[in-house]
């Protein structure tokens, strides 16, 4: 990792190696004794900070490159408590202004329990995802920041890293597919379908409104009435056919 940070001035960045002999296996073999207290060597953030050479007591930023080995070694509860205490009180005369942790979601045991708790503890959560349709092949980052007043800022950006290890990011704008005329009134006839003139001119509209349909009678009386017009072949008889009945 040291080779990656080319432009940083070395006075300000202290590297703590919690990677090389984190369980004391190499040391203990050379001394040829296996003591149980070797397990606690460098295993917690607080103990690492306590043994670190502190040159200034200014506010410092702690960056942890992966939280998973820590959670495996000391357990999630203890890790959570230590992170919380780092933010709340000072250790060894050192006041911590910010803690930045990297979590690989798929390597965490019990991730459905651990991850929401860590997100709750954090004021800013940056979730890195793979590229989407709108991100032009670049990976995306969704950022949720909780301000002190209670307001929450949400933003999605896509980023890329150039040859000089500089991060370039832009806000992701969703690309909506443009369809012409989608919002138009759907009752209108689609006029581009044929070369025939389907629309009506002004005079034609007036003529249509004045038209009286031949078989339509406006029924102003109440109740129903049957309108019957006999044809030429019909035999219309006014008499009542049931007259000769003796009831």
């Amino acid at each position: 990792m040291k080779t990656g940070l080319r432009n940083s001035s070395e006075d300000h960045v202290h590297f703590h190696d919690c990677f090389t002999d984190h369980r004391g296996w190499i040391d203990s073999q050379e001394k040829e004794n296996i003591r149980s207290d070797v397990h606690t060597k460098g295993n917690s953030i607080l103990s690492v900070l306590q043994t670190s050479p502190v040159t200034s007591t200014n506010d410092c930023i702690i960056i942890i490159d992966s939280l998973t080995p820590l959670i495996y070694n000391i357990g999630f509860t203890r890790c959570y408590r230590e992170l919380h205490s780092l933010l709340v009180k000072s250790t060894n005369g050192l006041t911590v202004s910010q803690v930045i942790c990297l979590i690989h979601e798929d390597t965490l045991p019990d991730v459905h329990v651990a991850l929401p708790q860590l997100c709750h503890l954090a004021t800013t959560t940056v979730k890195i995802g793979s590229h989407t349709q709108s991100s032009r092949g670049n990976p995306t980052a969704s950022i949720i920041h909780k301000k002190q007043g209670g307001k929450i800022l949400r933003q999605v950006e896509y980023y890329s890293i150039d040859a000089d290890n500089r991060l370039k990011s832009e806000i992701l704008t969703l690309v909506t597919p443009t369809v012409a005329g989608v919002n138009e009134d759907e009752n209108q006839l689609p006029e581009d379908l044929t070369t025939f003139k389907l629309s009506l001119g002004q005079q034609e509209k007036e003529a249509r409104s004045q038209l009286v349909l031949p078989y339509l009678r406006i029924n102003s009386e109440k109740g129903g009435k049957v309108f019957y017009q006999p044809d030429a072949a019909d035999d219309w008889d006014e008499e009542d056919p049931d007259d000769d009945l003796d009831i």
């Binding site: 080779t3 990677f19 090389t20 002999d21 984190h22 369980r23 296996w25 190499i26 203990s28 073999q29 296996i34 397990h39 998973t68 080995p69 495996y72 070694n73 690989h104 798929d106 390597t107 045991p109 590229h131 032009r136 092949g137 670049n138 990976p139 890329s160 890293i161 150039d162 040859a163 000089d164 290890n165």
Partner: protein, 262 residues
């Protein structure tokens, strides 16, 4: 013979010293051929191999090796190949535990088991590095340690210690195989932990639609070039191949270009 696999993996062009190659073997396939081809490549480059055999015996690797063109027994006699046969260690440890004598390497406290195994490996790699400049540590397969009852935490610690060897012993490269079965959470966690730190990830799985006589399975190679800037199209570049296991060689080809189909 093994060259087609090695060129697919890209290790004949890139230097694999100081790098970790992770082979992810999904349930219905066998990723052993990748290890055998990598051993063949290492032998060809006149390097040494330290083989930690958890899944098969040393004789098995020798037999496969003769078909690919190298003789592991001879190389072991010459001192170019060291092996740690965990299956034999299991036998010795079990006997030692029953008879209550010293020699129980594997059946003690979990951490001690891993620590002992690590120290064995460290000793062997140091011995090999005295003779040759290039040493390849091949572990087959890491998920078998979970079958011994060891927790994921200890296996990941063991893996981390093996990675520290990459820095403390220049000239060493690491190849680790893990097996994944769906539904086995521990294997998934172990595999995720391994893939996050690997430089090259080879995923070997069977065909989704079933078995075929022309294609044995598919192989996806992902190069995580962590030491180079992450340009959009180069980042996490993945290459998908199909392979066919034959008697004396492995044929690797692009999907859809099997010899019977062309």
């Amino acid at each position: 013979m093994a060259t087609s696999v090695c060129s697919a993996l890209g290790i004949d062009q890139e230097n694999s010293v100081g790098k970790l190659i992770a082979v992810e073997e999904h349930h219905s396939s066998n990723g052993n051929f990748v290890l055998n081809c990598l051993i063949a490549e290492q032998v060809h480059k006149e390097g040494s191999v330290c083989l930690v055999a958890l899944h098969n015996s040393f004789g098995h690797y020798h037999n496969v090796g003769t078909k690919l063109g190298y003789n592991l027994h001879q190389l072991q006699e010459k001192g170019c190949v060291e092996s740690i046969e965990v299956l034999k260690l299991l036998n010795e440890s079990l006997n030692a535990e029953h008879e209550n004598r010293v020699g129980n390497v594997l059946f003690g406290d979990e951490e001690n088991t891993m620590r002992n195994l690590f120290h064995l490996i460290k000793g062997k790699t140091e011995k090999l590095l005295q003779k040759r400049k290039l040493v390849s540590l091949v572990i087959d397969d890491l998920s078998n340690l979970l079958s011994l009852g060891i927790s994921v935490k200890e296996v990941l610690s063991f893996l981390q210690y093996c990675r520290t060897l990459l820095e403390s012993q220049p000239g060493l490269s690491l190849v680790v195989l893990t097996h994944i079965a769906e539904g086995d959470d521990e294997q998934q966690l172990l595999n995720a932990g391994l893939c996050h730190v690997a430089d090259v990830i080879v995923t070997v799985c069977g065909l989704k639609t079933g078995q075929s006589s022309d294609v044995s399975g598919s192989m996806k190679v992902t190069h995580r070039r962590l030491d180079q800037p992450m340009i959009a199209h180069e980042w996490n570049k993945q290459n998908l191949y199909h392979f066919k296991l034959l008697d004396r060689q492995v044929k690797v080809f692009a999907p859809g270009t099997a010899t019977c189909l062309i």
